[in-house]
C-alpha cells in the first residue's frame, strides 16, 4: 500500500476513534466504546506493522519512510510541514505505542467496565495515542512539540479523569503545569536551535550538527540541547521536575500503565535518541544528562522503598528506571537507552496492569499493608507480575537484565561515563531489587492481611490476556538485544537491536574496545547485588515482618525524610509556588490597586477639588451670570479700545 495512506491510517485511526467516542461521550457502554477504541489502536498497530515490514525490506542505510501531508505554516524562512517519518528509532516506538497501547486498551475494557465515564475515558486514551504518534513521527521539532504538548494534555485529562475528587484534579493540573515548565524550556531550545541551524527539521539538524563547531563550553548547540533536556526532564519525570509523576497515579491504572510507564514518559529519552547526532556534539549536555539520570535513578528508588501505595511504588520505580534511560543516553549509549525504553515498556506496563488487576480485585484498595497472600486468589496476575518482577530486578535472562546491564556497562565503559555513575547505577539496581521484592512480598506472598469485607478474585479474561501477552514479552523482550559479550559466548547470537539501530545512531567518539572480563565482572556484581537485596527484602517482609519497622525506627529522621519524599513537594510549594501566589497578590495590591489607580484618583480628586472651587461662582442667579458676562465684555472692550 501507499505509504502516505498507511501513515494517514496509522495517525488518524486513533483520532477517528477519539471523535467517535467523543461524540457519544455520554454513552456508558464499556464494551462498545472500548471495542471501538481498541479497534482504532489495533488498526494503527497493523498499519505500523506493515510500515515497519516495508522498512525492514529497505536497504539498511536508506530505511526511512517520509510522508508530508501539507505545509503547516510558513513565515519567511521558517517553514514547517505537517510531515512525518519513520526510521529505525521511531519504528520501535510506534510498535511499542500501538502494540502495548492496544493491549492496555483491551485491559481497560475490563478495568473500566463499571465506570460511568468509560466512553470519555476511551476517547481520551485514543487521543493520547494519536498525539503520541505525532510526537514520535514528527519530522521537525515543532511537529514533535505538537505531540509533546498533546500527550501532556491527554495526561492531564486522564489523571484528572475522576475530576470530582479535588486531589485527582489537582494532580492533573500539577502534571500539566510541571510539564509546561519543561515545555517552555523545549520552546527555548527550539528557538536556540533554529537560530543556529535555520531549521527545525530533525533530519536536517542531525545532518548539520556534526559539521557545526561548538564555540564554547556553553555554545548554541549545548544551550539548545540543554533546554531540550530540561523539556525532557519535565516530560520524563527527572530531577527536578519529576514531582508530578507520583501524583499522576491518581488516574485510572491502565492510564498509568500506558502513559506513565510505557509511552509518554519515555518521550524525553526518545527525543534525545532521535536527536542523537545533535546531542553527541554537546558533551557538556551529555554530562548533565548522565548525572541527572543517575541521580534520579537512585533518588527515586530510595523513595520507592518507603512507599505503601502499590501504584506509588511503581511510579517511583518508573522515575528511577527513566533515570537509567537518561543515564544511558547521557553516556552516549543511545541504543541501550532505546533498548531499556522498550523492555521497560513491557515489564512496567505489565506491572501496572498487574497492580490494576490487584486493585480491581481489592475493590479499589491500593495500600499494600492491607494486601498479602494474594497469590492463591489471583494466580495469573501473580504469575505475570512475577515475570515483571524478575525482569525489572535484572535477573537473567529476563528482559530487564539485558537492557539494564548494558546501561550499567556503558556508564562504566563509555568515555562519557565514569565509575561513579556505575556505582550510582548499581546502588539503584540494588534498591530496585529491594523495593520490587518488597512489593511482591507484601502483595502476593506472606500472610494475608486482606480485610474481611474484601473478597479478592482473579480478574476476567479480558484483563488477563494483556497480562499474559506482556508477561511473555517481559520474558523474551530482552532477547533482541543480547549484548555482544553474552551472545558471543552463547554462540554468536546477534544483537539484533544494535544492528537495527546502527545506521541512525552516532557512535560514541573515542570508544575503546570493550574488555570482556571487566564486563563479566560488573555484570556479576550487579546481578548479585540485586539478588542479595531481593533476598534481604524477602527475608524482611516474609520471614520477619517486624524487622523493617525496627530498622525504620532506628533511623527515624532519615526514614521520615525519605518516606515524605524528601519533602520536595513542600520545598517547591514553600519556595516557589506560595511566594509566587502571595507575591502576586501583593503585586496586584501594590501596583494596580494602590499605585496606578491611586494616581488616577489623585488626578480626579484634583480636578474635582478645582471644580469645587469654581463651583462657588455658580450661584444659579441668571442675572449675575449675565452681569459677569457684561463685565467681561466691558473689560475686553476697554482693552481693545485702549490699545
Amino acid at each position: 500500500m501507499d505509504h502516505s495512506l498507511l501513515m494517514a491510517i496509522l495517525l488518524l485511526s486513533p483520532l477517528v476513534g477519539f471523535l467517535i467516542n467523543g461524540i457519544r461521550y455520554k454513552n456508558p457502554t464499556a464494551n462498545l466504546s472500548g471495542g471501538i477504541a481498541t479497534a482504532a489502536v489495533a488498526i494503527s498497530f497493523i498499519s505500523s506493522l506493515i510500515l515497519v515490514a516495508d522498512l525492514i525490506g529497505m536497504p539498511a542505510e536508506a530505511r526511512k519512510i517520509h510522508v508530508s501531508f501539507f505545509q503547516w505554516m510558513a513565515v519567511d524562512s521558517f517553514k514547517i510541514n505537517a510531515a512525518f517519518y519513520i526510521d529505525q528509532i521511531s519504528a520501535i516506538m510506534i510498535l511499542v505505542i500501538t502494540g502495548v497501547g492496544s493491549l492496555i486498551h483491551l485491559f481497560s475494557i475490563g478495568y473500566m467496565h463499571h465506570d460511568k465515564g468509560v466512553t470519555k475515558y476511551f476517547a481520551y486514551l485514543n487521543l493520547f495515542v494519536f498525539n503520541m504518534l505525532i510526537l514520535v513521527l514528527g519530522d521537525s521539532l515543532l511537529t514533535m512539540f505538537v505531540g509533546w504538548e498533546g500527550v501532556g494534555l491527554c495526561s492531564y485529562l486522564l489523571i484528572g479523569f475522576w475530576f470530582s475528587d479535588k486531589e485527582k484534579a489537582a494532580a492533573g493540573m500539577k502534571a500539566f503545569i510541571t510539564n509546561r515548565v519543561g515545555d517552555a524550556a523545549f520552546l527555548l531550545g527550539m528557538f536556540v536551535l533554529f537560530a543556529t541551524f535555520g531549521t527545525l527539521n530533525i533530519q536536517e539538524m542531525n545532518a548539520l550538527a556534526p559539521t557545526t563547531a561548538e564555540a564554547s563550553w556553553l555554545g548554541a548547540i549545548t544551550l539548545g540541547t540543554l533546554f531540550l533536556f530540561i523539556g525532557a526532564t519535565g516530560k520524563s519525570a527527572q530531577i527536578p521536575l519529576y514531582v508530578w509523576l507520583p501524583d499522576a497515579m491518581a488516574g485510572p491504572t491502565p492510564v498509568s500503565a500506558l502513559i506513565h510507564a510505557a509511552t509518554m514518559v519515555t518521550a524525553g529519552v526518545y527525543m534525545i535518541v532521535r536527536l542523537n547526532p545533535l546531542f553527541i556534539v554537546a558533551p557538556n549536555t551529555m554530562m548533565v544528562i548522565a548525572i541527572i539520570g543517575a541521580l534520579t535513578a537512585v533518588f527515586a528508588a530510595s523513595i520507592g522503598i518507603t512507599q505503601w501505595d502499590i501504584k506509588k511504588v511503581l511510579a517511583y520505580s518508573t522515575v528511577s528506571q527513566l533515570g537509567y534511560m537518561f543515564l544511558a543516553v547521557g553516556v552516549g549509549a543511545f541504543g541501550a537507552g532505546m533498548f531499556h525504553l522498550m523492555t521497560h515498556a513491557f515489564f512496567k506496563a505489565l506491572m501496572f496492569l498487574g497492580s490494576g488487576s490487584v486493585i480491581h480485585a481489592m475493590h479499589e484498595e491500593q495500600d499494600i499493608r492491607k494486601m498479602g497472600g494474594l497469590k492463591k486468589y489471583m494466580p495469573i496476575t501473580h504469575m505475570t507480575f512475577f515475570f515483571g518482577w524478575v525482569a525489572i530486578i535484572g535477573i537473567p535472562p529476563f528482559a530487564g537484565f539485558f537492557s539494564k546491564d548494558e546501561i550499567l556497562w556503558m556508564s562504566f565503559h563509555s568515555p562519557l561515563g565514569s565509575p561513579a555513575l556505575w556505582v550510582l547505577g548499581a546502588i539503584g539496581a540494588a534498591m530496585t531489587a529491594f523495593y520490587m521484592t518488597r512489593l511482591m512480598c507484601l502483595t502476593f506472598w506472606g500472610k494475608s492481611r486482606v480485610p474481611k469485607s474484601v473478597h479478592p478474585h482473579e480478574s476476567p479474561t479480558l484483563m488477563t490476556i494483556p497480562l499474559i501477552v506482556l508477561g511473555i514479552l517481559s520474558v523474551v523482550g530482552g532477547w533482541v538485544g543480547i549484548p555482544e559479550v553474552i551472545g558471543h559466548s552463547l554462540g554468536d547470537i546477534p544483537n539484533l537491536l544494535e544492528h537495527w539501530l546502527h545506521p541512525v545512531i552516532k557512535p560514541i567518539p573515542n570508544l575503546t574496545e570493550a574488555e570482556h572480563s571487566m564486563e563479566w565482572m560488573l555484570m556479576g556484581v550487579s546481578v548479585s547485588l540485586a539478588t542479595i537485596s531481593a533476598f534481604i527484602a524477602y527475608h524482611f517482609y516474609v520471614k520477619s515482618p517486624e524487622t523493617p519497622e525496627k530498622i525504620a525506627n532506628s533511623i527515624k529522621p532519615l526514614y521520615n525524610l525519605i518516606s515524605k519524599k524528601y519533602l520536595v513537594d513542600e520545598l517547591y510549594f514553600g519556595t516557589i509556588i506560595n511566594p509566587l501566589i502571595n507575591g502576586s497578590k501583593r503585586l496586584w495590591m501594590f501596583i494596580d490597586v494602590n499605585f496606578i489607580d491611586k494616581i488616577t484618583y489623585v488626578i480626579s480628586d484634583l480636578v474635582r477639588g478645582g471644580g469645587g472651587v469654581v463651583r462657588a461662582l455658580q450661584t444659579g442667579n441668571l442675572q449675575q451670570y449675565a452681569m459677569l458676562i457684561g463685565i467681561g465684555i466691558v473689560i475686553a472692550l476697554s482693552i481693545i479700545i485702549m490699545r
Binding site: 503547516w72 513565515v75 498533546g150 475530576f163 470530582s164 509566587l580 501596583i591
Partner: protein, 504 residues
Amino acid sequence: MLLSTILFLPLIFALIVLIWPQDKTIRHVAFGLSIVEFIISLIVLKDFDASSAQLQMIEKHMWIERFGIQYFLGVDGISLWLVLLTTFLTPIIILASWNSIDTKIKGFHAAMFVLQTAMLGTFLAIDAIFFYVFWELSLIPMYFIVGIWGGARRIYATIKFFIFTMIGSVLMLVAIIYLMYLTQQASGHMSASLLEFYKVKIPFVGGSILNLQSLLFFAFSLAFAIKVPVWPVHTWLPDAHVEAPTPGSVILAGVMLKMGTYCFLRWVIPLFPDAAEYWAWLFLSLGVIGIIYGALVAMIQPDIKKLVAYSSVSHMGYIIVGMFVFNHFGITGSLYQMLNHGVSTGALFLLIGMIYERTHSREISKYGGLAGVLPIFTIFFFIITLSSIAVPMTNGFIGEFLILLGLHKAQPVYVYFAVTGVVLGAAYMLWMFKRVFFGEKGELVKDEKHPLKDLSVREIAVLVPLVVLVFWMGLFPNHFLDLTKSSVNHLVTNKNKYYLEIKE
C-alpha cells in the same frame, strides 16, 4: 464602493433597528443584518489580492479640502483579517446577547452596529483625521454598552475607561495635527493622508526623548498603548471587563483592544521607524512585564471575568512584544495573535457570560464540580482554555510561538523572561479551570432546587464557529498567513523607508 458599503452598512442597520416597530423580532432582525454584513465582508476576502502589499480597494474623495482631509479607505494584508474578525464577531455577539440583554434591546443593537462601524472605520481609514473620527466614535457606543447594560460598578468602570482612553487620544490628535503641519512643510500642501505622512522625513536624534520623532512617537504610542493596554496603563481594562455586559466584554476584548495593536503596525512603526527602533527596548520590556505581570495577577483573581481580563493584559503583552522585534516572525505572530485573542478571549467571555446567566455569580470560590453538571459547557470551555494557553493545534500556539521565535531572533534576552508566560498562562487558566469545573460541587452548583441547564442549541451555535476557528487557525495557519504575507514582508523590509502604494 465595497469598503464604504461594509463601513456604513452597520450604521444603516442601526437605523433600521431603531425604527423597527416590533420589539419581539428585533434580535432576529439584528442577527440577520449582521450576518448580511459578514457575508458582504467576505467579498473583500474574495477580491483581496494576496500577492500584493499594496493598499487595495481604495476609495478616496476629498472631504475638507483646506486641510487636505480625505475620505480615504483601503485595506491591505495588515487590516484585512481584523476587518473580518469584526464582522465575524458581531453576529456571534448578537446571538449571544439573546438572553443576557433584556432591557433596551433596541438601543443595545443600535449601539452594537454603531460600534461596528467605528471599529471597521478604524481599521479601514487611511486618512488621519478620518481615522481619528472613528477612533473616538468607538468610545461612545462602548461607553453606553458598559454604562447602561453593565454591572453594579458600571459607572465607575465606564468613566475610568473613557478617561483613560481620552487622555491618550487627545495627545494623538495633537500629534496628527502636527504631522499635517509637517506635510505642509514638506510638500507645500497640507494633507492628512497616511500615505503623505509616510513620505515625511521626521528628524530623529537618539539618546533623548526630546526630539521630534520621539515625541510624536510617544504621543501616538500612548494613545494606542492605553487602548491595547500595555502595562502600566492597563488598569481600566479589568474594571471595564468586569462591569461590561457579556457582549460588551466580547467586543472589547475581541476587537477594540486590537485597534490599539493594529494602529501600532499601521501608524507608529512605519511612521517613526527610528524612534520605534530606538525605543523598542522600552516596549519590549513593558510587553514582557505585561506578560508576566498579567499572568501573575490573573492567577490570584477571585473573579473569573477579572482573571480573563488580566489574561488579556498578558496576551496583549505578547502582541506588543511581537511587533517591536521588527522581523517577520514577530509581526506575523502579532497579527495572528490579534486574531487568536479575538477568537479565544472573546469565546471565554461568552462562556463566562453563559454561566453567569445561570448562576449570577462570577466568584470562582462559589463554583466547583461544574464538569459533572454541565458537560457540554465544560467541553467548550476546555477547548477555549486550550486555545488560550496556546496548546499546539489550537490557534493560540501559532501566534505565541511565532512571537517568541521572533523575539528570540531579535532580542534573545527577553525571551527567557517572556517564556515564563507560557508556564504561568497554563497555571492560572488551569487552576481556575480546576477550581470551577473540578472538585466537589460548589455552593452555586449543587443547588438542587435550581439545577443548572446545559447549553442550549443557540448557545452551542454561538460557540461552534469559534471552536471551528480555533482548530482551523491552529491546523491550517497558512490559510490565514498567506494573505498577510506580502504586507508583512513589505513592512519588515521597508521599515525605515515605509511607503504604501495604491492598487488600482
